[in-house]
């Protein structure tokens, strides 16, 4: 199981802030996971439509699409940050 979090407009488009997901074999990187979520349903398609504006973190550390994740990890998706 992987804990997946969504923030800002990704949260709005996904319709939830987080979910526990059973990840199918072959989905091993952050990029794989985004593509799988996009293909999964209409909400995923809306949230991950523009992959260039989606950022991610694995276990609360920024991660690029090639970054791997494993069972038990926390993966978050969000837009580019706009604090300060």
């Amino acid at each position: 199981m992987v804990r997946v979090l969504y923030f800002a407009w990704l949260r709005e488009r996904m319709g939830c802030a987080e979910e526990q997901l059973e990840i199918p074999p072959g989905v091993a990187t952050v990029g794989d996971l985004a593509a799988w979520l996009r293909a999964r349903n209409a909400k995923g398609e809306a949230a991950f439509a523009e992959l260039s504006t989606v950022r991610a973190a694995v276990n609360q550390v920024f991660a690029l699409p090639p970054a791997p994740f494993a069972d038990g990890d926390e993966v978050a998706f969000f837009p580019p940050v706009t604090g300060g």
Partner: protein
Amino acid sequence: MTPFIRVQMQRIDVSAELARLTAGQTGVGGIGSFIGFVRDDPACPLQSLSLEHYPGMTEAAMTQIATEAAGRWPLLGCTLIHRVGRLVPGDDIVLVLAASPHRQAALDATGFLIDWLKTRAPFWKQERFVDGTERWVEARLADDEAASRW
């Protein structure tokens, strides 16, 4: 140097934070500071700004930013406070304080801390305008460029 990091809902008490930063220190020659505010644009009147963050990761990222600054400048202390929740024009959003024996180090570290905080800490702003429309603020290329100078 142990940075003081906090994400909070309430207004920022600058005097209290200055007192905390300088408590028991006599080696401080200067403190640089930046305070960010919710700015109103008369062309598109803002009703409120909602700030969301990633609890846990935010504090870790802020600590890492402060640690990076301490590695680059001789800091005696630094403070990073960022508000979340619903803010209105004129409200403070963020406070950066950097204390050093030397003025230039304090000022340079302050600029570095706010530039990195804007581009490397997981906060997101949503604007709500007087006409009822809402939009998520988009990251500015200029902010990335400012942060990449360092």
